[in-house]
Symmetry: C2
Subunit: 329 residues, 2 copies
């Protein structure tokens, strides 16, 4: 039996977020041939349970496809060897040797990467950032994932932990964050921020939140980010304002990142970005208003991600392919 040519070989990408696991079989061109999606077990986000979930979805996909490697994008701090999850604010992981555990059980090469790095790599290789060498990617999901491509390469940082923009303080003494700090950017510009604000309005029985209140029958816990986006797109003013506020915080933070990194392009991805211009319009306004040196410098573009919620798994699959030894990629 001959090995398939590298350009024909398939890899599996797995994206582990705060609330879900998505996996897919991906071609060298970035096409997803098959996909599986499951919730991250709510009760127990222990390493063993999540690992079991990953092994389950990969084996399920391997029933129909022969693959040569697996890439995992995880919502956490992944070390510079791309082997261990050091810390995952939204999962109960601490120094987990995920790569070796998965590789042993799956008998395949495995690479673990921060989920935002994986998604960014997908956007630069096959999405909104093609052909651009200096890109900052901000993914608004449960929290904020970030990634930096400088000179056409992922900048992982000395210890693999660069791009954790969500935990930059934007409001001293502000909202408590799971990371242990207060006022982290992701407390103001993320899916959690959208639902927190909407729930507060409903719980307070604010008259401005009448439509929201009705939509969930008064049960604030039922409010989700997509619901807020949907009501906003139908013109509900409270939901429009929530997205404006979150967009404004997004743009303010982008101005901070422009001061630090000076990229050519910002790509905004993640579930919240599906609100589209309701979010990105206010974000661009705040970005341009807060960009230091505005009027005297080129202004980076701010665009929506192109690959949607499959960016993470497509990027993880691409990184798995590129990490294979002795093969043409």
């Amino acid at each position: 039996m001959t090995e398939p040519r590298a350009e024909d070989a398939l890899t599996i990408g797995v994206d582990i977020g705060g609330t879900k696991v998505a996996a897919g079989v991906v071609t060298a061109e970035g096409h997803v041939l098959a996909r599986l999606r499951t919730e991250t077990p709510e009760r127990s986000k222990s390493p063993a349970v999540v690992e079991e979930t990953i092994v389950g979805v990969v084996r399920e996909l391997m029933r129909e496809f022969t693959v040569v490697a697996v890439g995992v994008g995880a919502a956490g701090f992944v070390d510079e060897q791309r082997a261990n999850v050091l810390f995952a604010p939204h999962l109960s992981w601490r120094r987990e040797p995920l790569r070796d555990a998965l590789s042993d059980r799956l008998d395949l090469p495995v690479v673990v990467e921060n989920d935002a790095n994986a998604a960014a790599w997908a956007e630069v290789r096959a999405g909104a950032g093609q052909g651009v060498d200096n890109v900052v990617v901000v993914n608004l999901g449960t929290g904020i994932g970030g990634a930096v491509v400088l000179g056409g390469r992922l900048h992982r940082g000395r210890y693999g932990l660069a791009g954790e923009f969500g935990h930059m303080t934007v409001v001293p003494g502000g909202h408590r964050c799971e990371c242990g700090n207060r006022g982290c950017w992701e407390q103001y510009a993320s899916g959690n921020a959208v639902t927190r604000e909407a729930r507060e309005l409903v719980r307070a029985e604010s008259p401005v939140a009448r439509v929201l209140h009705q939509a969930v029958g008064g049960d604030a816990d039922l409010i989700t980010g997509p619901l807020v986006s949907e009501l906003a797109s139908k013109g509900d003013r409270a939901c429009v304002e929530i997205l404006e506020d979150v967009g404004t915080w997004l743009g303010t933070g982008l101005a901070n990142l422009a001061a630090a990194f000076d990229p050519e392009l910002f790509i905004i991805g993640g579930g919240v970005s599906e609100a589209g211009e309701l979010l990105l319009g206010p974000a661009r306004t705040a970005f341009e208003r807060n960009l230091t040196g505005r009027g005297y410098r080129p202004t980076a573009r701010v665009v929506a991600a192109a690959l949607g919620n499959e960016a993470g798994l497509i990027g993880a699959a691409a990184l798995a392919r590129e990490t294979l030894p002795d093969r043409e990629h």
Copy 2:
């Protein structure tokens, strides 16, 4: 007449800050053979006046030394061609073609670089960052200058404007900054912050500022950063607290930068850093307290710059040397 060998050739480095111009003749090893220092003209910081000042100091140094190139570090946004000063918050410069103007008048190759980039390069080549590939440099002068060395190279950003950390917002709606924004980091962690806080205490005739008040005969305008450092080193509690506050803001901002860049080393330079541990102690405490993922990640070191206020001119001179065509550096 033969050309001097590259390793024997001398270059001149010029450092233009918010309040002074420093220049020196520098060897390939980074030794300063001769130096000149002059105030930036207070009344008129126009490009013509500053250019005249630079030409004056360079010609003065060239009376005694033969040099092959001139490097200028300027406290402003320098474009990616390292030719034009786009914007200088502390000088009245807007899109100034400084490189070509100087090169024409001096008849020598000239390179213009952001002053913090120049100082950072000096520290990495000959100072506190030797042998370290991922370094973030924060210079506390009139404002904050920043620079990033990634993988052993200066990261200038897409348009040459990376590292403008001083204009990252740390306090929404906070102190007004010359850059046009509010709450910029350099309003809280810089020489200006030290003097502003000290002056406010003296003007308010605060009982805690008795020593400060006496030291300047009640004239708050006479307060300088070095005076505050001096009184702090003698144990004056108000001055110790001012440096603690500024150090705490410094450390908080470093934690933000660690989240974004994940360096191995932070180097703190600039005039304010001469306060030493009175500043760096509180900075390290705040850094470690605010570092996201603390306890689950390696912690970058925070050290003082080694080259003092000559780093800018040494780095500018090194960059001038390295930019020369057809020579061994």
